[in-house]
Each structure stands twice: as C-alpha cells, then as structure tokens.
C-alpha cells in the first residue's frame, strides 16, 4: 500500500468565544495517501476550513487544539516549530484558494509573483522565469510568456486560478490542498480546471485534498471521499461506493439534494430540513439526529462512533450496517 502522506488523527479543534468554546472539529480522522485524491464534502460551517487551517497550521489566535495529531509523512505538524512548519508550507504542502480574484497580489505581475514563490530554489532570474514559464504552460495557459508580464487584473478568473495552481505546484509538493478551487468559476471552466488538475496530479504524483460543495466534481475527480457534518466525519470511503450506496443518512440526503441528480423539473429544490446543531452546546447523541429521518431513541442518547469496515468504508451511524 502506498505511503500515507497526511493523517489527521482524532483531531479536536475549538474556538474560544464569548459564549464558550465552539467545538469546530471533534475527533476527526482522515488519511490521504500518496498519489490519491481525497474529496472533502460538507455544508458550510461543517469544519472543512478549520480542518485545512489546522493542517497548514494557519489558525486564528483564538483557536484551541484540544486533542489529536496531524501527521504529514509521519511527522506531527501540530508540535513542529514554526520555523520547520514554514519550511514545509509551499514546498511539501501547498494550497490553492477558493477565490482567484483575491488570492493573487494585485500590484505584482504574475511573473514576479511566480519568481518570488521560488525563493527556496537555486538559480537566477532567468532560471526562475524559465520555470515559471514551464509551469504556466503546464497548467494550460496560452501565450504564457506574455502572461508573465501581466498583472492579475488583466487575467480572467479561470486564468488566474490556473496561475494560482501553477504557483502551488511550482515546488512539486507532496500534498496539494485545494479549497473549493472551482467554486468561484463558471461550470465550463470548472470542468477544464478539474481536468487540468487531474492531468497534473498524474504527472507530478502528488496527493490532493480537494474540498468542494460540488458533488459532481468530487465524483469526477476523487478516489475517496470524506463527508463531514457539524465538525465530525460522518462517512468516508471510495467515492463510487459512497455515492452509489451511502451508509449515513446525511450522505444520502446530501446526494438527494444535488441538483445534478434530480431528473424531474421541480418548483423547489430538495433540502435537508433543520439547521446545524449549536457547536458551543452540543447535543449528547448523534450530531445529525435532529435532522435525520430515521433517528430512533438510541440516536438521542448515544453518540455513534465512526466504524470502519474491511472495505475501506466507514460511517458514524447506529444503522450504518442497515441503511435504508
């Protein structure tokens, strides 16, 4: 079996607020193996952003990591010195952000920013320029040499995101974290960017942790999927199997809400009724039980554990063995 690049182990992260500690992540575990693309799905507020911020360790000052570890190639990132952590960021562990309109410096040319990113690599201006040019061409930017002289506002959204991907992959990181990289783009571009990412991943051989709301993109791109709800992992497993036969009611309802899966024209799109539980004052049982359509008394009193099976799938539901 291939090497585990990223292993999040029983991670619990909270934010200190005036009302008490908001438990943004509770006992979250997930693994990303080398060469693998893992999708992370969940509605807004489910802890995806907290999770990736914990991985790159760029957390708000009021954050509290109460338990767990984030292992990157076996090294716990949470106990690493800031110096060594910084050495990993960008080199071994890179990130693509959601909005390409704001993730590039508006006053520096693309070429300057790309050269700047290479501060760890040897070589003079010319070599850095050559590498930038090569990366831009690889992410599918036409007339790349001209683009190097352009400023971000002269590029379209899709092109900026390609440039951002080129920058993130410049150092050939072992893990790329993509935080909804296609959410800000239109559908056609989304497909192009996904294809490009897939091709580059195959070429460089890095692992990708891909965060998205878009289930179709996850199904298309990822090998495995991790479904999060209210700060917990509720289900994980190979993407095809999870999507074909979800074991957790939340996954099932989420899939039912995907506009792409709806065949008939409807006046209203399906929704999951209810709201997220209060993360400061959590219910005692299953976090999803208030919104779940098959909750029984055990769900209110007892918290289900994320039980993994031999098939690489896991679901945190009392009825995971007998899904509806």
């Amino acid at each position: 079996m291939s090497e585990v690049v990223l292993a999040v182990e029983h991670l619990s992260v909270g934010y200190r607020t005036a009302r008490g500690t908001l438990q943004a992540l509770r006992d979250v575990s997930l693994e990303v193996r080398s060469g693998e693309i893992v999708g992370l799905v969940g509605e807004s507020g489910c802890g995806k952003s907290t999770l990736i911020s914990s991985v790159i360790r760029l957390l708000a000052p009021n954050t509290e990591i109460s338990a767990g570890a984030v292992r990157f190639r076996g090294v716990d990132l949470l106990t690493l010195s800031e110096e060594r952590m910084r050495a990993l960021r960008g080199a071994e562990l890179a990130m693509v952000f959601q909005d390409p309109m704001t993730s590039l410096n508006p006053v520096l040319s693309i070429g300057r920013q790309m050269a700047d990113i290479q501060f760890r690599l040897p070589g003079g201006t010319r070599e850095k320029r050559a590498r930038s040019l090569d990366m831009l061409q690889r992410v599918g930017i036409a007339d790349a040499s001209q683009r190097l002289g352009h400023y971000p506002h002269q590029l379209s959204g899709g092109m900026r995101q390609r440039a951002a991907i080129a920058m993130a992959l410049m150092m050939k990181p072992a893990l790329l974290i993509a935080d909804e990289p296609t959410t800000a783009l239109d559908a056609t571009l989304e497909v192009q960017i996904i294809e490009q990412l897939k091709a580059l991943q195959a070429e460089i051989g890095n692992a990708i942790l891909f965060i998205s709301h878009h289930l179709g993109v996850i199904a298309e791109l990822c090998d495995r999927v991790v479904v999060m709800y209210a700060g917990e992992v509720v289900e994980s497993g190979p993407v095809r199997q999870v999507f074909d036969a979800p074991r957790h009611p939340y996954t099932r309802m989420l899939l039912a809400c995907d506009p792409a899966s709806i065949d008939e024209r409807a006046r209203t799109l399906p929704i999951i009724p209810g709201i997220l539980p209060d993360l400061v004052d959590l219910p005692g049982g299953c976090v999803f039980c208030e919104r779940c359509d098959r909750a029984e008394s055990i769900c209110i009193t007892q918290r289900p554990r994320l039980e993994g099976g031999a098939d690489g799938r896991a679901a945190a539901c009392h009825f995971a063995g007998a899904p509806r």
Partner: protein
C-alpha cells in the same frame, strides 16, 4: 527605494497620464527645475552666496544681480539658489528618514501583536497632539538652533503621519487572501512585508511625501525666519526673508526673492502630489 518603483508598466503609464494633466505636469516641471537648480547651485549661481559688497546694498534687480541684493550687498539670486539647497536637503533627508521610520513603526503596529499596536498608536497620537511650532521652539530652546535640529524636529513630528498611513494600509492588507496565500506558501513575515505589503503601500506613501515637502520647506523657512534654523551667514529662504523684512520700506527685493521660491515649491509639489494621487487612486484610474 528604487525597487519599490519596479512595476515599470505602472511608471510609464503614470507619466503618460501626467501629460494629460496640465497642473500636474506643470508641478512636475517646477519640481524638476527646482531640483536641478538647487543640486547644481554652485554652477548656476553668479556670485558666492556670502560674498559681501557694501557698495551694492539693497540694489534692485539688474544685469549684475538678477534678483537684486540684500542689506550687505549679497547677491540674492545666488543666495536663493543656495538657500534652496538647505530647503531641499532638510526636506529630502527629513522626509526619507521619516518615511523609513514611519514604514518600520507602521508595519510593526499593523502586523505585530495587538498590544504593540495600541502602544504605538498612543505614541503617534501623543506626538501629533503637540503643535509643531511650539514643539520646535521648545526643542531649539533646549539644544540650540542648527540644521540638524531642524531635521530632527521634522522627523519627530512627521513620523506619526507616515506610520499611521502605513499602519492602516497594513492592517487592511493583513486580512487579504493573497497574504494568507503567501503564508500558505511558506513565506516569512519579513518576506510578506517586503515583497507583498510594501509594493501595495508605496503609492500612498509617495503621494504623502510629495505633499509633505512644501510643509517641511515652510517649517524650515519659518524656523530660519525666527532665527531658530540655520545660523547666519548661511543662506536660507527663511533667513533671506527675515533679513529683508527690516528694509521692506526701502527695498522689497529681498522679500520677493525669498518668497517666490517658497510659493513655487509649495505649488509645484502640491500639484505634483495631487496628480500622483489621481493617478494612483483606483477609482479614478479607469477614467483618465
């Protein structure tokens, strides 16, 4: 400092836009003319600035003395040029030092911990709350008049203005995505400040500096007028005015000679600064 202006495209574009702005262009011309005349003052001067000629006291302008002479028969044109050197030296040295200090303190306040920010802001406000001239009088009374004193006073009183601009801009930038992206790419704080914050705040800083020059020149002239700036016989626009003041009934020439450059510097740098502001203001950028 040169590196800050590196976006060549922007510089070229700015010059192009300046041409479409007559006042701003006029300002630039004045700035350049004054710059050349003062830097090469000994070349352009017709006399030595302190050369006394008692037989030619308080002369009106003539072929020999282009702007006339003062009460000791010193050539006013030459004195104005050399006085310009003093004015420019004070403003350039003081403003570049203020700017450097202001950038350092402002970034520290904007990027550093909250308590440090509070402390520095209280410091800036305290310094700013002193009336400049009162402060200057107190300092001169304490350590005596000299060119360095003037420069020191300007630095102390203008650092807070620069630091505040830098702090505000840094605070705004700090939360921007591209700064977070840089962090995620492993850039150090120093690297982020130097390569990403600095180019973003350079424009407002240069505008502020350009608008600040007349104020500094005025302050230097004011202090010299009061006899608290450069020591006689060194020529300064302020001391030319104060020397000529006593003879205003007989000969207005020293006052005119000392006053015109002050007016020109103020107008030139203000127009130029305003043009710079229009060029860099993103809201006006598309229109012009």
């Amino acid at each position: 400092m040169i590196a800050l202006l590196r976006p060549h495209g922007l510089l070229r574009e700015s010059l192009r836009k300046l041409r479409g702005n007559p006042l701003g262009f006029g300002g630039l011309v004045i700035v350049i003319v004054i710059g050349v005349l003062t830097v090469f003052a000994p070349l352009f001067a017709t006399h030595a600035p302190n050369e006394v000629d008692v037989y030619a006291r308080l002369q009106p302008p003539s072929g020999e003395h282009w702007l006339g002479t003062d009460q000791l028969g010193r050539d006013l044109y030459s004195r104005v040029l050399h006085g310009g050197r003093i004015a420019m030296t004070v403003s350039l040295v003081a403003i570049s030092l203020s700017m450097a200090l202001g950038v350092a303190l402002g970034m520290l306040a904007g990027f550093g911990p909250r308590w440090l920010d509070r402390l520095l802001v209280i410091g800036f406000d305290t310094v700013r709350s002193f009336p400049t001239v009162m402060f200057a009088l107190a300092v001169v009374a304490l350590i005596g008049p000299s060119l360095n004193t003037v420069i020191g006073i300007v630095i102390i009183t203008s650092v807070p203005a620069y630091a505040r601009v830098v702090r505000t801009q840094t605070l705004a930038l700090r939360e921007r995505d591209f700064i977070l992206a840089e962090r995620a790419m492993g850039a150090s704080t120093w690297r982020i400040l130097r390569h990403h914050v600095m180019p973003n705040i350079a424009a407002p800083l240069f505008i502020l500096a350009s608008m600040d020059i007349p104020a500094v020149v005025g302050l230097e002239a004011g202090l010299s007028f009061l006899g608290l700036g450069v020591r006689p016989p060194t020529a300064s626009w302020g001391s030319i005015l104060s020397d000529g003041y006593a003879y205003i009934r007989n000969s207005p020439w020293p006052l005119i000679a000392g006053g015109i450059p002050l007016v020109l510097v103020t107008l030139g740098f203000t127009f130029f600064g305003e043009a710079l502001r229009d060029i860099f203001d993103p809201r006006l950028r598309r229109k012009t």
